[in-house]
């Protein structure tokens, strides 16, 4: 009888398909994965600890550095947590600007998600086309906030600045073009038989396990679990928009990919509605907030739907002007927890497809 021996292979931390500095120690039997042990922490910067030495406002730029692909959503989670703690009212116009910039961030993040997913599997054209539209979104965000990725746009009590002259029209124009672009990706990536062969029925995740592992975002919805915080527990002004939650059927890599694709369409819809509604809303973009923020003693947990999943901020206040403790529930990190079981039994080449279908960003995993 032929005896095979298991061996281990270091996948990363310097592997381009790990989306950063992430290592998986794979135990292989031939080309089959027996075990995949994720090793993270190469990008750890101690943001939670740094936050303890900063005032409440000064934490905002650090939240950008977690999921830098969708920085606005990270800002939003933090400022809403502090607002909840202090009971600050946010002006309506600011809420709309938050929704618009947040959804733009979500589209930009999903464009990277699907583009890089295609790239990892070998579809380079799909990757480039996704980046082309992302660039347009980055330009819009740059006009609005001054930065391309690390926006630091949200402020406690509102947003940093109102939309510049003519910005909303340019945004509307791009959003009108966006469905056409999405159709292009659908034709180029989704319909591609090679892509389908590489992703369909790979890395299957059942709805029960997805819930048990507390996965969230498109990773969860790809398995057919209808749970989107924007619908389930609307925050901000999300209850005023009409949109659907796209769901997958099989919970494989392809469904997770398709969920992101369809979610972009819904985000475009939300932005289109927000652009229409913001016209009727005038007023300040930042509420009445004291210069020195001293929240009352207590703690708060607030979570929002980020592009990768549910991002939750746990802020403890001791009554001073600096947070006593900030903890972040990072969706990428938690979604990654199931990686080991997801890769078991598949081929080595599928690890790349599975990892990129979870759509992690290492800044958030390591925090």
């Amino acid at each position: 009888m032929l005896r095979t021996q298991e061996y281990f292979l270091n996948f990363g931390p310097q592997h381009p398909s790990t989306h950063g500095v992430f290592q998986i120690i794979l135990t292989l039997d031939g080309e089959r994965i027996v075990k995949g042990e994720p090793v993270c922490g190469y990008l750890h910067r101690g943001i939670e600890k740094l936050a303890e030495a900063r005032t409440y406002t000064q934490v905002i730029p650090y939240t950008d550095r977690m999921d830098y692909l969708a920085a606005m959503l990270q800002n939003l989670g933090y400022v809403q947590a502090v607002e909840k703690l202090m009971g600050i009212e946010v002006p309506e116009r600011a809420e709309y600007l938050r929704v618009i910039s947040g959804e733009l961030s979500r589209i930009a993040s999903h464009l990277i998600g699907i583009g890089v997913n295609a790239l990892d599997i070998g579809a380079f054209t799909g990757f480039l086309l996704c980046f082309r539209e992302r660039e347009k979104i980055m330009d819009l965000l740059e006009e609005l906030t001054g930065s391309r990725m690390t926006l630091s746009y949200a402020r406690i009590g509102g947003v940093a600045d109102d939309a510049p002259e003519g910005w909303l029209d340019r945004l509307k124009k791009l959003m009108d073009e966006m469905p056409g672009y999405i159709e292009e990706y659908q034709g180029l990536i989704t319909g591609n038989e090679i892509f389908q062969a590489r992703t369909k029925f790979i890395g299957i995740l059942s709805p029960e396990t997805a819930i048990n592992y507390s996965l969230s975002g498109p990773t969860l919805r790809g398995s057919g679990v209808n749970y989107d915080l924007r619908k389930a527990r609307p925050y901000g002004v999300y209850d005023r928009f009409d949109f659907e939650v796209p769901l997958g059927e099989n919970g494989d890599c392809f469904d997770r990919f398709l969920c992101r694709m369809l979610e972009m369409e819904q985000s475009v819809r939300i932005i289109q509605q927000a652009v229409e509604q913001i016209k009727e809303v005038d007023g300040p973009v930042i509420g009445k907030v004291p210069k020195v923020l001293k929240p009352p003693k207590g703690e708060v947990y607030h979570e929002i739907e980020s592009s990768k999943g549910i991002i939750g901020y746990y802020v403890v206040s001791d009554g001073s002007n600096k947070p006593y403790r900030v903890h972040v529930r990072r969706p990428s990190f938690i979604n990654l927890g199931y990686l080991d079981e997801m890769v078991r039994g598949y081929l080595l080449a599928d690890v790349v497809a599975i990892l990129s279908s979870i759509d992690i960003v290492l800044g958030e995993v390591d925090c």
């Binding site: 900063r54 406002t57 000064q58 934490v59 905002i60 730029p61 650090y62 950008d64 054209t125 086309l129 082309r132 660039e135 330009d139 740059e142 006009e143 609005l144 906030t145 001054g146 930065s147 690390t150 630091s152 940093a160 600045d161 510049p164 292009e184 034709g187 180029l188 990536i189 319909g191 591609n192 038989e193 090679i194 389908q196």
Partner: protein, 177 residues
């Protein structure tokens, strides 16, 4: 039919092949930089009262302000930014009450030597004695003279303007073109 998707993909690729090019040949052509761009900092020295709000607003303690007491007033002798630690979040610009600190559209901040990285917006010496109300800005080189003669006083109005220009323009001079 198997392969239909591939053909459709090729059609899209073919269509994009003839689409206008989006790449910008960087040093020759440049994108327009938006109004709110977070670029190099510019300090309006005349407006700045050296209150230190910007230094306090900074999450990374990038800004250091040096000031001396001249007469009853505080006089700013240095405004330095350890720009290598800057997050470009804009909290300092936002905190400025006097509208003195701004972002410029200049994004080219790389330096050849590490020692050149810190951004020196103001570096000057304090005048030895308090200036009169009409002369808000300073002049350098007075420190050696403990008691400037009345004759020197008459020259003052011309000097502060020149000094301010140097302070404001210092940042752009430093860059290696």
């Amino acid at each position: 039919m198997f392969g239909k998707g591939l053909i459709k993909g090729l059609q899209i690729t073919w269509k994009e092949f003839w689409a206008p090019k989006l790449t910008v040949q960087y040093p020759d052509e440049q994108h327009t930089v938006p109004e709110r761009f977070h670029g190099r900092f510019v300090l309006d020295v005349d407006k700045c009262i050296a209150c230190g709000l910007c230094a306090n607003a900074c999450p990374n303690k990038v800004i250091s302000i040096e000031k001396q007491k001249v007469g009853k007033k505080q006089y700013m002798t240095g405004y330095k930014m350890k720009i290598q630690y800057c997050l470009f979040c804009g909290l300092c610009v936002e905190s400025c009450n006097k509208d003195a600190l701004h972002f410029s559209k200049d994004f080219n901040m790389n330096q050849y030597f590490y020692r050149d990285i810190p951004l020196v917006l103001v570096e000057r010496e304090a005048p030895a004695e308090p200036l009169e109300e009409e002369e808000p800005a300073a002049k350098a080189g007075d420190k050696e003279k403990p008691k400037p003669k009345p004759k020197a006083k008459a020259e003052k109005p011309a000097e502060p303007a020149a000094q301010t220009e140097v302070a404001a323009g210092k940042a752009s001079d430093k860059e290696g073109q």
